[in-house]
Amino acid sequence: MSISSTELEAAGAPETGALVAATDPRRSVWHTLLRDPSAIACLVYIGLVIVMALAAPLIVKVSGWDPYEFDQTAIDPNLGGIPLGSWGGISAEHWLGVEPQSGRDIFARIVYGARASMLIAVSATALTTVLGVVFGLLAGYFGGRTDMVISRFMEFLMAFPALIFMIAVLSALPADNRQYLLVLVISVFGWPYLARIVRAQTMSLKQREFVEAARASGASRTRLVFTEILPNLRSTILVMVTLAVPGYIGTEAGLSFLGVGVVPPTPSWGQMISSSVSWYSVVPTYFLVPGTFLALLVLSFMVLGDRVRSAVDPGGR
């Protein structure tokens, strides 16, 4: 009798697991998103920025100006170097105008700036996700002392005034490999927010019947974590990731804005906005162009994250 009931449970385990996995977000999420016009618009814009980032050298060849090239003919030296022509020097030659003083092509700098934004945001998200999931799983699954150590450490990191500290550290560090440092610093302070949620979900999943059943059938810990628990965290992770990217785009731009991000002359959107501050009243296009690109990118990810969340979890808010 007892044997047969164990068999029943063991046989039932993969089935329940499969049932839960059948609500696997990926297919249905795509399906829902592709029927939502605003989600499509966001996807298109994000795709555009990614193409810009990847094909930057090519695009710049077509537009005719590279991002570091000075164009003294496009600015008026008598007026302190403001761009010639209205709207910040927007013309057939310079599609989005030029920078005051240097005359560098804003379109080219936007295209190259997309590289910095996307590269840093995506890498930081990837690193944060790995750290957050690994530590969240460890703390949630093993509990006890492991959980205590990880949780305390997370509390400590979250109590840190992250922005000020990031800026302070970045300003103290040599500027050679800023991109990597940016990713590292952002991730170090970012992962606890994901880990906290993963931990809580792992703890509740651990109690669920199908995991208990798998454990009863003698599955190893590694197998349990990877085949039973992780697949069920997919939708949570998916939502967190789509919401983390815009956050990190904003953080990178903010840090660059404050002068501790991407090092000039390498362009980044935040840094472009930062250098436009002293010109905002004379050449408004100078901050409007990168500002619009940046705000739209963040908006696209936010809307997308919102839609993904409601697709993954229609009941929840």
């Binding site: 509390e155 400590f156 109590a159 840190f160 005034p161 922005l163 000020i164 500290f165 800026i167 302070a168 550290v169 300003s171 103290a172 560090l173 815009p246 904003g250 731009a253 903010g254 804005f257 404050l258 002068g259 501790v260 935040g270 906005i273 930062s274 436009s276 501050v277 905002y280 009243s281 408004p284 901050f287 409007l288 500002g291 940046l294 705000a295 739209l296 963040v298 908006l299 936010m302 809307v303 919102d306 808010r317």
Partner: protein, 332 residues
């Protein structure tokens, strides 16, 4: 309750200690030699040695750190003999740039930052709670969709972009607001107030957006609660049902988050203060970072951490004060 408090305060001190240790270590290991920096261009080796001695820069790391803590709690002396300068507690050292007492610098700027933070918090709480409530009771209709789209926009625009746009529109273009210049409150209260309108708005927009979403979600949840049905069954007016029965429970988590956000802002709104040239702690932080003024950076980091940690604790206490269930639980 008393035990809980002692426990919390102790935990708070540990976190603050770790933050200061960690920050101190980062600067000790990574930053360029402050003596060279202070000394400037017309520097002689003797002068550098003198500075190093005055600041005890030759001591090992832990000794220096202990001196820092000593200054913070007991006060300390810089230099020896007749040239010694006493810095009374809480001593955060002297700026490498201006030789001013860091404690004084902070004390001067903190009220400004408090004004920025309080004004912004009032705005975003009002907008967020009212917007969220309206959105929730009109769930799924046009008003709700409109407000929700606005909040997405509000969360997407980086505040420095918003700052520049608003400044351009209202100051340069429409000229509804005067060009910002620092005026003491006593001299010209109207001008003083006008100066803060844009910074308050810029800071509030992002927060207001997320508070609107949060309030909306919470109110929608509470509207489904049985006690809201009871309130309706009593024949209460809808506005009373929403305000008393749906909003009140929904506000509890919002109050906690607001406390945290407010505490975070007291540590200085770096970007907003810099863009608008407001002489608060945030601008002090941003400036000290660009000038690599270590004692000041150290101080503002600690100050921000202090507010975060204290805010955290205050919020926990507040929570037990506003939720009757927790209130009684803590007392027994």
């Amino acid at each position: 309750m008393a035990r809980y408090l002692v426990h919390r305060v102790f935990g708070m001190l540990v976190v603050l200690f770790l933050v200061s240790l960690f920050t101190y270590m980062v600067f000790f290991l990574l930053a360029p030699d402050p003596a060279v920096q202070i000394c400037g261009k017309t520097c002689t080796p003797e002068r550098i040695d003198q500075i190093r001695a005055n600041l005890s820069l030759d001591d090992p790391f832990l000794v220096q750190f202990l001196h820092f803590l000593q200054g913070l709690f007991l006060g300390r002396d810089y230099g020896t003999g007749a040239s010694a300068v006493h810095c009374s507690a809480p001593c955060l050292g002297y700026s490498f740039q201006s030789a001013q007492s860091v404690t004084d610098m902070i004390v001067q700027r903190l009220p400004v930052t408090a004004v920025v933070a309080i004004g912004a918090a009032v705005l975003w709480l009002l907008a967020g709670v009212v917007g969220g409530l309206i959105s929730a009771v009109r769930e799924g209709r046009f008003t709700d969709k409109f407000i929700t789209s606005l909040t997405l926009g509000g969360m997407s625009v980086p505040n420095y972009v918003l700052a520049l746009v608003l400044q351009y529109v209202f100051v340069v273009w429409l000229q509804w607001l005067p060009f910002p210049q620092a005026v003491p409150f006593a001299d010209d209260p109207a001008q003083w107030f006008l100066n803060f309108i844009l910074p308050w708005t810029v800071l509030a927009v992002g927060y207001a957006s997320s508070y609107t979403r949060l309030t909306r979600a919470n109110v929608i949840d509470t509207l489904g609660e049985n006690f809201v049905r009871t309130a309706r069954a009593k024949g209460l007016r809808p506005d009373l049902v929403w305000r008393r029965h749906a909003l009140r429970p929904a506000l509890t988590p919002i109050v906690t988050i607001a406390g945290m956000d407010f505490a975070g802002l007291l540590g200085g709104a770096l970007i907003t203060e810099s863009v608008f040239g407001i002489n608060g702690v945030g601008k002090l932080a941003a400036d000290s970072i660009t000038k690599n003024d270590q004692p000041v950076i150290m101080a503002v980091t600690l100050l921000a951490a202090f507010f975060v940690v204290v805010g955290n604790m205050a919020v926990d206490l507040l929570y037990s004060a506003i939720d009757p269930r927790v209130r009684v639980g803590a007392a027994s």
